[in-house]
């Protein structure tokens, strides 16, 4: 299960000059990010910095005001089959009548295409993914009966079933105990050793240098990005967490007001 070899010149993932606005008010400014090598990438920043918005916009879930996103050199919309996603746990209704197994099976739907129903191959894959996150014993449970950490693992297994080469994960460590966190990271690391790229929205600064290869420091704009050793410095953290830029707030206000009431 290794990633397809690619043209050396095209980066795995590239965001060019992406600006995202909610209700005409910019919340992400001129994001420019290129990931050349497979590996584990953390997106770090304070609350309200737009971390989730950034990956959601990159995948086309949130409309962009300007900019473009590409993966392996072509527009990301055409490469969705090679991209996996772990949304925030709160984004779905956990009372939905669906079992753990069926949830993970959904990861294979993308490769199935229209009308075809999952068969033996997909079921076997699903079971393997469940085993990989240690949830095989819970396959027939309704998802609402799981604890927070278990729910997170189910989402992870579903992403594994996508067999993607580039993963976006939105806070997979939120509300998870230390043991699960280690299990999750071992899994992410083995994925990255298989040549995949995993972009993780992360909130725990202490574990960044331990687990990740690269880091993106984000606060409404990208403050710094690059290898953890050189980028994850206290100076950069200071400017990431040292409050919002008041000028950006003023400008966001001005843009919102003038595009609405000139």
């Amino acid at each position: 299960m290794t990633a397809r070899t690619e043209n050396k010149t095209s980066a795995v993932f590239d965001i060019h000059d992406m600006t995202v606005a909610y209700d005409r008010r910019p919340v992400l400014w001129n994001i420019d990010l290129t990931l050349r090598n497979p590996g584990l990438v953390a997106i770090v920043g304070p609350n309200g910095a737009g971390k989730s918005t950034m990956i959601r916009a990159a995948m086309g879930l949130v409309p962009m005001v300007s900019g473009s996103v590409s993966a392996w050199g072509s527009p990301i919309g055409r490469e969705l089959g090679r991209i996996g996603y772990v949304p925030q746990r709160g984004s779905v209704d956990w009372d939905f009548p669906i079992s753990v197994f069926e949830t993970v099976l959904m990861g294979t739907y993308g490769s199935l295409g229209w009308f075809r129903h999952p068969g033996r191959v997909q079921r076997d894959l699903t079971m393997r993914c469940l085993e990989r996150v240690g949830m095989q014993d819970y396959a027939q449970r309704q998802i609402g009966q799981l604890s927070g950490g278990q729910q997170q693992r189910v989402f992870l297994a579903r992403a594994l079933a996508q067999q993607a080469e580039l993963y976006f994960m939105d806070e997979p460590m939120a509300g998870v105990d230390a043991a699960t966190e280690r299990v999750v990271f071992e899994l992410l690391q083995s994925l990255s050793e298989e040549g995949r790229t995993i972009v993780v929205v992360h909130h725990d600064l202490r574990t960044v240098s331990e687990y990740f290869d690269e880091v993106v420091l984000l606060n409404v704009r990208i403050v710094a990005s690059g290898p953890v050793d050189t980028t994850f410095t206290s100076a950069n953290l200071q400017s990431t967490y040292g409050g919002r830029l008041s000028i950006l707030d003023t400008m966001a206000e001005a843009v919102q007001k003038q595009t609405e009431t000139e």
Binding site: M59, S91, P97, S147, Q150
Partner: protein
């Protein structure tokens, strides 16, 4: 083959209940339960206009008009949400009441201008009049049910994905909007097919109550849908029989009341989610609820089984 009138009506309401249970399952899970209500109310003016334009009481003509204006209502809801700052609830209320008002005005003026024409009594569509269903009407409902069932089965996987996790659906490259529109279309078709029997005001209940009741009995979508169809069908049949037995009781409301009773019974007696299950000890229950299994196949508190997971983090 010769059918008695009751048999025709029975077949019609049975099929209707099944189709509504099928589509309604997705509508309820997707929090679109009241969209059916909006479509039903919005269908009335189209029905009247179809009558006025074609001067025909053919069910196909009337219901085509109804479907068009029902869909127009649904589109108006999304346009109003998109272009004004009005909230969901207000938008639904506005579209529902304005279209219904238009429908009432039209039925009234049709009635006033066609005083000698009993066929012009479109007011029967407001509460529904299952008793007068014709064989042709039932055949049309049968077609609707077949088409709906076919599409739902064919796209079961996609609709399930959409209902559970719309974003994941989109990230996998499915057109969430296209699926959403399809689901809306199926809902509208089912609602419109139900208008002659159950009427504008109550058709939405067919979509909502059976799936809501079915949810008590199963934790699996496919099974929940089958149960919803069964409840819908049962309500249709029971309501029709009651209405035939007690002359003068309207069929539509009886169908709705039957499903409400089933909902209430499910709420009380269903395993795991029912009131009794939650309030009493298992062993206590088994003595008078024979279907409750003794082995713990679906334990409620799994947290302690996983060594990695502490109980507190379940919050």
């Amino acid at each position: 083959m010769f059918f008695t009138q009751t048999q025709i009506v029975l077949t019609g309401t049975l099929l209707l209940g099944i189709a509504a249970g099928m589509v309604g399952t997705f509508a309820v899970l997707r929090r679109r339960a009241l969209a059916g209500d909006v479509v039903a109310h919005s269908a009335l003016p189209g029905l009247c206009l179809a009558f006025l334009t074609f001067q025909s009481r053919s069910m196909l003509v009337l219901l085509s008009g109804a479907l068009l204006s029902g869909l127009l209502g649904a589109v108006t809801v999304s346009l109003l949400k998109r272009f004004t700052r009005l909230r969901d609830d207000a938008v639904q209320g506005i579209v529902l009441s304005v279209f219904y008002g238009g429908g009432i005005a039209l039925t009234r003026s049709i009635q006033n201008t066609h005083r000698n024409d009993p066929g012009a009594d479109l007011e029967s569509f407001i509460i529904g009049q299952a008793a007068t269903m014709l064989k042709g009407d039932v055949q049309q409902i049968a077609v609707v049910v077949a088409v709906t069932a076919g599409i739902v089965l064919l796209l079961f996987k996609e609709l399930k994905l959409l209902s559970f996790d719309e974003q994941f659906c989109q990230v996998q490259g499915w057109s969430a909007m296209g699926l959403d529109i399809l689901l809306m279309l199926l809902t509208a078709i089912t609602v419109v097919a139900g208008l002659p029997a159950v009427g504008v005001v109550l058709t939405a209940a067919l979509l909502i109550i059976p799936p809501a009741a079915a949810r008590f009995w199963s934790d699996r979508l496919s099974r929940m849908m089958m149960i919803a169809c069964a409840i819908g069908g049962t309500s249709g049949v029971t309501g029709t029989l009651l209405s035939a037995r007690y002359d003068g009781l309207p069929t539509g409301p009886l169908i709705v009341l039957t499903s409400t009773v089933i909902f209430a019974l499910s709420w009380v007696f269903a395993p795991h989610r029912g009131v009794l299950w939650k309030s009493r000890d298992m062993t206590d229950l088994q003595s008078f609820l024979p279907w409750v299994e003794s082995d713990d196949t679906v334990p409620r508190a799994p947290t302690t089984l996983d060594p990695h997971v502490s109980a507190q983090e379940a919050s």
